[in-house]
Symmetry: none
Subunit: 193 residues, 4 copies
Amino acid sequence: MADEPKHVGRPKNEAASTALKQAAIMLVREQGYGVSITAIIEAAGVSRQTLYNRWATKAELVLDAFFEQAQTQVSTPDLEGDAPRRRLLAIYLREVFGHVNSDGELLRTLLAEAQIDPGFRKVFFERFVSPRAEIVIDLLRDAQARNEIDAARDPELMTSMLHGALWYRLLIDQPLTDDIADELAGEIFRGGR
Amino acid sequence: MADEPKHVGRPKNEAASTALKQAAIMLVREQGYGVSITAIIEAAGVSRQTLYNRWATKAELVLDAFFEQAQTQVSTPDLEGDAPRRRLLAIYLREVFGHVNSDGELLRTLLAEAQIDPGFRKVFFERFVSPRAEIVIDLLRDAQARNEIDAARDPELMTSMLHGALWYRLLIDQPLTDDIADELAGEIFRGGR
Amino acid sequence: MADEPKHVGRPKNEAASTALKQAAIMLVREQGYGVSITAIIEAAGVSRQTLYNRWATKAELVLDAFFEQAQTQVSTPDLEGDAPRRRLLAIYLREVFGHVNSDGELLRTLLAEAQIDPGFRKVFFERFVSPRAEIVIDLLRDAQARNEIDAARDPELMTSMLHGALWYRLLIDQPLTDDIADELAGEIFRGGR
Amino acid sequence: MADEPKHVGRPKNEAASTALKQAAIMLVREQGYGVSITAIIEAAGVSRQTLYNRWATKAELVLDAFFEQAQTQVSTPDLEGDAPRRRLLAIYLREVFGHVNSDGELLRTLLAEAQIDPGFRKVFFERFVSPRAEIVIDLLRDAQARNEIDAARDPELMTSMLHGALWYRLLIDQPLTDDIADELAGEIFRGGR
DNA sequence: AAGTAATCGAGACGGTACGTCTCGTCTTTAG
DNA sequence: CTAAAGACGAGACGTACCGTCTCGATTACTT
């Protein structure tokens, strides 16, 4: 019977949200996560309260802004087709490496914030890390089903090694090239069977 | 033949340095890296300027304090002996996992700061990450020389996978057990030869 | 016809201003001009920024607080009436001496600050010294018009002597009694005509 | 019978005292009394402790430095001769005005410090103000004895007016010319007899 | 010649205050 | 209700001085 409240008062200005997200992503890219909230609202031409009406913390704002960007979306490998899974893994890694290379600084800073703020850590891993882990785990399980790798190995551990290598090299400023992607796939599928 | 300049002026009070490092490490463990400098100097019973006379930033103080602790020191595997290198690797990983498990929060927070402050990043990796990478690379090269793993594989990439898995699991709160250590060594030495 | 912009944003809390002025005047009276800004804001129960939102320096705050006090206001002598000007001058001097005696320490300290800070000096003399000088100069000119003192004498110089004597005796801790006031008036009007 | 203790230990380096006084007077002239002690010892090329070995406060140092300067010494009027005392007073005032004009800023700042620090106030008035007051009082008493001014008038009050006018005009940045000096003498001796 | 005592430079130290900055909340007027 | 503007309490930050202290070296008098 809920009385549809319809809507009361001045409607939210969507332009304000957009301006905030754009300002946030731009300033974080420029100056790192340390930018002040004041700087963000000034760049967005928006009042302080308007920001707090939408996001409780800087981290949530930046996360939202980050995920709105297309290049954070990975394409799921086609497990219906008949391509060798080693090849699919290499393609996937190359794609992810590309994203990371173009936005490494931002990722670094989000990862840092995730270590400091447990709430943010949860969201960051749910929305960013886990989906990617799932993709790789599925791919490796499929490879086991197709007998391309040994069924006794642990797909989750292999994923730790793959994504771990990715993060590790990002954090210590080592390159993430296509060759590295191929070699990583090779390491996992080494020995065949 | 340099004329040792002896020493000029009132000598630094070593007790103040020690008190600051102890207070820093204690408070960072308790409250995370976000503790205020004010809290640290109060806990140490030291003046603000005294801290700034010794360290330019909180990061440098915390880093110094951290490295003074014994449990950050790993024992280098004995490559003189005849033990299988797979076994030496597993032992090394178990030991490192132990340190990480007992000081995970602090490591997390230092890693985060390293992402934010490039100067600190450099120091952190030079003093903490690189030495560990070197140990593993040496061990793997030795294993190749002993024909325990294929000489064509890239020891540096394998190190990325091993330490990457370690950090990755730390960052996403996955367990780092002895079993995992053994499995990781198994993955690298899989197939033998 | 200027479009009154009305006012935007949260208005200043007048109570905070009042509390700051009261705290300032009280503490300066107690401890001298050297009181810390911190002590003032704590006594006023107000945040540090709130003070800086209103006054740029301690001197401006104290000056405002000082001038808000009734006892700094002198009553202009009645030059419409027919009283002897010598008598009006004596009355004026007695009144001013009274103020100075009750707030000598504060005046001393403001005068000192005026010597140190040129900006404050300007304001202090515009708001405090000049109005008083004007009153006496007007009175003396009127006395000259009424032929009570020689028209050839310089009213400005006589004012220097009168107010100078006042400050001089304040600064060297000599008494400022009603008798002195009368004698000073007597010195100026000596000889009559 | 006081056993002359002779002197023990390394004697004070007189050059250090001189350098400190010169640096102090120079910097106070340049930047006002607010110069830091650190700036003074650096300009003097002397250690911090050396300053404190000689003077307890900045005020005492500056005062010493100030009084060492020749132009602070006034010549006592010749009351032996037969010159009209009005003329002697005018000469004295011209001389003092000259000193004040050439060092007004420094005097201003010393006066300010005297208001803030009661100990310094005492010294300042004993060494600077009182001797000058004495000179004028003696002169005026002599004039009374010679029947040049009325014996019933109060020499001390007249001195307050004369020196008060001097300080007042200094403090409010009004000129102190030879003409003003003559006019002041004229005011005191007005009417003759 | 050895001992004693004070000075000097250099600079560390605890303390206090400063003015700026950020954060997240609150209070007003306007739409 | 929402927006813009900006005041507000809280409190950290890094800097500047202050006056004292500690050290090693130096310089003189005293024994």
